[in-house]
Amino acid sequence: MKRSEIRVCVLRVGGTNCDAETCRAFTDLGVKAETVHMNDMVESRNLPSYSALVVPGGFSYGDYVRAGAIWAKEISAKLGPELKEYAEGGKPILGICNGFQVLVEAGLLPGFTGISEQPESALGTNVPIGYYCGWVYVRHTSQGNCIFAKSIPMQKVLRMPVAHAEGRFMVTKENESSFLQVLHDNDQLVFRYCNEDGNPANGRHPASPNGAFHDIAGICNPAGNVLGLMPHPERAYYSWQLPDWTRLGNAMDYGDGRLLFESVVRHLKEKNGRL
């Protein structure tokens, strides 16, 4: 598939943000990307025509009930069968921040045995409590399964910003160790919060901005085509989005976030239209 034939849908509802930045990142890589309102998608029912789907960040429906819960149930109710076919057909789905919360609430992540009827994990209130907006480091921990991380060297430390109040990845207390084992076995653990040198954050703030279980910042489904992460790669796409860009001078054109977009575009290009 040529880059110009790739079409990315960035879905939005009231409260979504960074949809424009996400479109711009894909456009910079030579693919078509457009923001589509949920209502228009439900009316047109043309999700299958897109090569990839992004559920962007924000505070959909005011984060009422739980962050991402209302939008997740809306997607399940109105686009359930199409989304199931889309995800199970191996098409890429990326959930950023609120998008990650949506994918978890909709049962797509972790998705151990396909899309679950009820959430199998949660993104709870940050520890320490409160909205946290700042730059964090995450270590790429997948072994090659996730299509959004194929251009990222293993164990590479990436710098990206987070901005959320409910980002603490949680699983049921009694299942923590078995849950982690399955994540490892399926190569679903993609990003973990760490210090600048790559050492684990071990839940310590601010290296871990939210106290997530096992420092989990992003996971994919067992097939590797659905990724959710709390950090915002689209806010770390260009070098001039970085906090120290003036000191970096012309040393680099892009930030670490670009690697995620590059990975999925390369994956789609190599698929040669077989998706």
Partner: protein, 82 residues
């Protein structure tokens, strides 16, 4: 028949509750003999159903589908005909 259901969603035991801990600390600083505080959400839902058991079935389904995430939340409710 119309029912009023008071649904309480709270964190399961064992999970940290930063909002509850912060509230407890503040109450302790005010001099109250508070040992712990747990924070939850309360929804008051009005629904029509043919019977109390039907209203309970609907309420359970609503909690499982939307109002509680079984990973971290417990829920309980009290129902009355209005």
């Amino acid at each position: 028949m119309m029912y009023r259901v008071r649904i309480e969603v709270s964190l399961k035991q064992g999970h940290s509750d930063p909002e509850g801990e912060t509230a407890a600390k503040s109450l302790q600083e005010l001099g109250y003999p508070v040992k712990a505080t747990h924070v939850g959400k309360v929804y008051t839902v009005y629904l029509s159903a043919d019977s109390g058991s039907e209203a309970r079935r609907i309420t359970d389904e609503m909690c499982r589908k939307l109002l509680a995430n079984p990973t971290k939340d417990d829920y309980s409710y009290a129902l009355e005909e209005v």
